[in-house]
């Protein structure tokens, strides 16, 4: 029998040579992508993945993993299998030539901050 410092393990009376059986494919649950919203009106941000057998449980686990230590208004879960993604092989699609830099939206982020600042100082 395994004698552990952890009384819970000792109580289980596990044989010394007990081998843990490997997982069969059925033991693996599918994954859900978790999106976290800090406060109402904010965008939901992708924060990570949980394993779950159904959407309800994915929501529970998402709350625990990503909502527990954060201020949370709302959580979305989406089956990973339902995400339709681009291929990394096609990443060259996103490349841009120096002449088209005027199209990049870097300025917008700054404007958001400026507007927020203006608004905050009005109030």
């Amino acid at each position: 029998m395994i004698k552990s410092l952890d009384p819970r393990v000792t109580r289980e009376k596990i044989e010394e040579n007990n081998l843990i059986a490997p997982l069969t494919p059925m033991d693996n649950w599918e994954t859900y992508e978790v999106f976290h919203q800090k406060k109402r009106g904010d965008q939901h941000m992708h924060v990570g993945i949980v394993h779950a057998p159904n959407p309800e449980m994915a929501l529970l686990f998402g709350k625990e993993q990503y909502g527990r230590r954060n201020i949370t208004a709302n959580i979305w879960v989406v089956k990973t299998a339902h995400v339709f993604a681009s291929e990394y092989d096609d990443a060259d699609m996103f490349e841009t030539t120096p002449e088209k830099q005027y199209r990049e939206a870097g300025g917008y982020k700054v404007m958001d901050k400026i507007n927020k600042y203006k608004k905050a100082n009005k109030g």
Binding site: P7, R8, H51, M57, F61, K63, E64, R68
Partner: protein
């Protein structure tokens, strides 16, 4: 207001929460999957926190410090129902107990949110969200496992049968039942049990599980009077080990 009656109510609630919180925390690190391990542990922690809030109320009514009350009594001085001290068994039993106990707990606090004893009503309102989440967690598992496959259904049904009479023991009436009711502190165990049956029955039906036949209902009473199973002694020893070694330990 009758302080002795209120103390009796607070003690049994606090002890239920402390003991089931400790039992559930025994799953930490051993849970079926990582995500569930974290969820169950975090709810166990909530329960310890809720018991502490009630021990704090007792302290304000003249009892000793929460830690002293929690960690220096022997098993006979605990007022928890026998249900919460039973060993965890397999995860099916732990989940079934979590479901049966947490629904009762949520209803009890819901009823106490209107208690004439305002400090308790305040605690009840404060932890409403936690309890709602615990019950959501329990319902989700019970419905999922009750109807997943033959093995899970059989396990959940057995767990329900094993848990049932102990669960009924939660509603053991105390000496001061009528005083608590007449003073508007709490509407009573019988009322609670009635509401509890109304809530758990549809969920169990949805999970395709069957309640034991009413003729076989034999509530396991005694816990409220300090009569416990053989399992509480070792639990209390283990739970209070650190406190007994160093009462001033901080962590």
């Amino acid at each position: 207001m009758n302080t002795t009656a209120i103390k009796e109510l607070l003690y049994k609630m606090a002890d239920d929460l402390l003991i089931i919180g400790h039992r559930n925390s025994e799953w930490t690190g051993l849970g079926p999957i990582l995500e569930e391990d974290i969820a169950f542990s975090s709810m166990a922690q909530d329960k310890i926190g809720q018991s502490q809030a009630l021990f704090q109320l007792l302290h304000e009514l003249g009892e000793q410090e929460p830690d002293t009350v929690a960690f220096t009594r022997n098993a006979k001085q605990f007022h928890n129902a026998q249900f919460v001290e039973l060993p965890n068994g397999d995860y099916d039993f732990s989940l079934m107990r979590h479901f049966l106990y947490d629904v009762a707990d949520q209803l009890r606090f819901e009823m106490l949110a209107n208690s004439s004893y305002e400090p308790l009503a305040k605690v009840a309102r404060k932890i409403k969200g936690e309890l709602k989440y615990h019950v959501f967690h329990a319902n989700t598992w019970i419905v999922k496992l009750g109807s997943a496959n033959e093995e899970s259904k059989a396990r959940m049904q057995n767990a329900l049968n094993d848990a049932w009479n102990y669960a009924l023991g939660l509603f053991e009436e105390g000496e001061y039942e009528t005083i608590l009711i007449s003073e508007g502190v709490f509407t009573g165990e019988a009322d609670l049990q009635h509401r509890w049956l109304e809530i758990i029955t549809p969920t169990l039906t949805k999970a395709t599980l069957t309640l034991p036949h009413e003729n076989a209902w034999e509530p396991k009473f005694g816990g409220r009077l300090g009569i416990h199973t053989e399992y509480l002694d070792p639990l209390v020893d283990e739970m209070s080990e650190v406190f007994r070694v160093d009462p001033n330990a901080e962590w």
